[in-house]
Amino acid sequence: MRRRGIAAALVAAGLAGSVWAAGDATAQVAFKDRRDPPSYRPLTPDEQQSRDFGLTIFDTTWVAAGIPRAARRDGVGPLYAAASCDACHNDGARAPGPADDGRQPAGLLVQLRRAGSDDTGDVRYGHILGTQAIDAWRPEASVTLHYRLRNGRYADGTGWQLREPQYTVTGTRYGPLADDTVIAPRLAPAIFGDGLLEAVPIETLQALEQQERGTVSGHIAWRTHDGRRVPGRFGWQADAVSVADQTTRAFAREMGLTSSAQPHDDCTAAQTDCRTAPSGGSPEVPDDFITSVLMFEQTLAVPNSSADNKTDGDPRGAALFERSGCAACHPPSLPVRGIDGLTQIHPYTDLLVHDMGPALADRRVDGRPAPRAWRTAPLWGLGYALHAANRQLGLLHDGRARSVAEAVLWHGGDAAASRAAFMALSATDRRRLSDWVGTR
């Protein structure tokens, strides 16, 4: 009876049918100029104008309050992690991640969260460790990482090596971090297609939550936002409920720029100098700027894996993806609502949070592990990131995985069976599966 009910819910939610069936219109297009990522839909002249201005704001490097003649772009910091959106999401793409041991690279932020809370930062340092500061200010701290290597073998005897990051925070200028603060390194993800993920109906998420998928048990990350209970969809742990929420949070916490939605930046009560620093206005990012940035972000298409998009990868890779159980959490298709000409997208995520096992868990300052629920990362656009970007790329929330295979090997919890299935594959099939994922 229950299964029949779920099947009906899936049909209603638009999830039934072959996961491999081609969709109708596509949200994935060729990116001819990476500096000007295209929209997935035609825009009116007014929309285009707003979007162009949004891209301008997205790319703008903000400066300290009081810089002469810089009225529209001043107010960054005084303590911050990045001075522009583009510094971390270069041309909308994901940050490349750390190449090796050393200081925390651009695009890898350290979030701070009080253990057991949804959205409470460290009592002294707030939600983001400000590793940069305006002139004459000292950053909140420095972060270095060191990789410890882990070795293992596939079932066929082939060796593998993973790198496990260890973070060291030094030079904390407002005193020590609290023992129960979770150190949460987060790589800036690509923002392509975020407006489409926003259009996935809640009923779909509820149906996926109810769907029987073997040992997989995903949950909606319910958040309270403006007094309403809504699903978290964005961020590595689905902390943000919308593109607007994610964007204004990033302006406030990562860049120190206030907006109507986030009238306070990340200065805490303990940081009196930060709280009394000169402001770039009230708010520092005006509403029309936010509107335009959202127009840019919410209309962003998803890049094809190759410029011509003539191939969809080896179908044997697709079959292995499904047979290994990857599609249980990374379903190829989701319905969207309210978008002209588009009823289905292919993000390879269920937008739910899953237990991913202890190996990926963040750590508290006192060394204890933090909760380990992660939103299923969308795989679309991965081919573009891996190949078109033509640079080194780290996968997973902190960029620790240097390849698709390494990312799979870090999976645990809900995905332990899929990891085991991947481990048992032949070298040829592992490559087929990895290559196929790398062309999404």
Partner: protein, 185 residues
């Protein structure tokens, strides 16, 4: 006079001075590496150049007036308010430029290949060849470092008169070097 006769005996005092010099150089090197250790490439050549005294030049506001930079040399460019600069090619990154500085210079490279343009503060860089912007191959930076802070890599043709556009910066001076990429194949 032979070399042997010119050599002074290594007294304990001289040995101590040599040791102190070596130790000092090693310390300076270690500090430079520690302060600028976040680049994804070896940037020792740039660090050495940026540690020297720069040639001071005024960047132009029109391409026809742009001074020429020589590869392998550190320059300190004096820039103009960006609204005064007539860029031959619109800066390829659109940004708000309130309060920004910019300028134009020319350069040529003797042999075709990959070159690094290194700067000490956050400006946007475009290399224009025959009216078209040259796509960069790679870029990297270290926000905690200003000697240099940002490096952009281009594949450049030999002998072409290239225009270097600098835009969206917040400082009226900029130190810059152009050097062959030591990692090129």
């Amino acid at each position: 006079m032979t070399n042997r006769s010119r050599r002074r005996p290594l007294t304990p005092l001289i040995l101590a001075r040599i040791a102190a010099l070596i130790l000092g150089l090693a310390t300076i090197g270690a500090h430079a590496a520690a302060a600028c250790g976040n680049f994804k490439w070896n940037v020792e050549h740039e660090l050495t150049l940026f540690a020297g005294a720069p040639h001071v030049l005024k960047a132009a506001t029109r391409a026809a007036d742009a001074p020429e930079l020589r590869p392998g040399t550190l320059y300190a460019l004096q820039l103009a308010p960006q609204e005064q600069v007539q860029f031959p090619h619109a800066p390829s990154k659109r940004m708000l430029t309130d309060g920004a500085y910019g300028g134009l210079v020319h350069f040529k490279v003797p042999t075709a290949g990959r070159y690094r343009i290194a700067i000490d503060s956050p400006f946007w860089i475009d290399v224009v060849d025959g009216g078209k912007a040259v796509s960069s191959i790679d870029f990297g930076g270290d926000p905690s470092c200003n000697a240099p802070r940002k490096i952009v890599i281009y594949a450049l043709p030999a002998g072409d008169d290239l225009t270097l556009q600098l835009s969206a910066g917040t400082t009226s001076t900029l130190r810059i070097t152009i050097t062959p990429d030591p990692t090129q194949p």
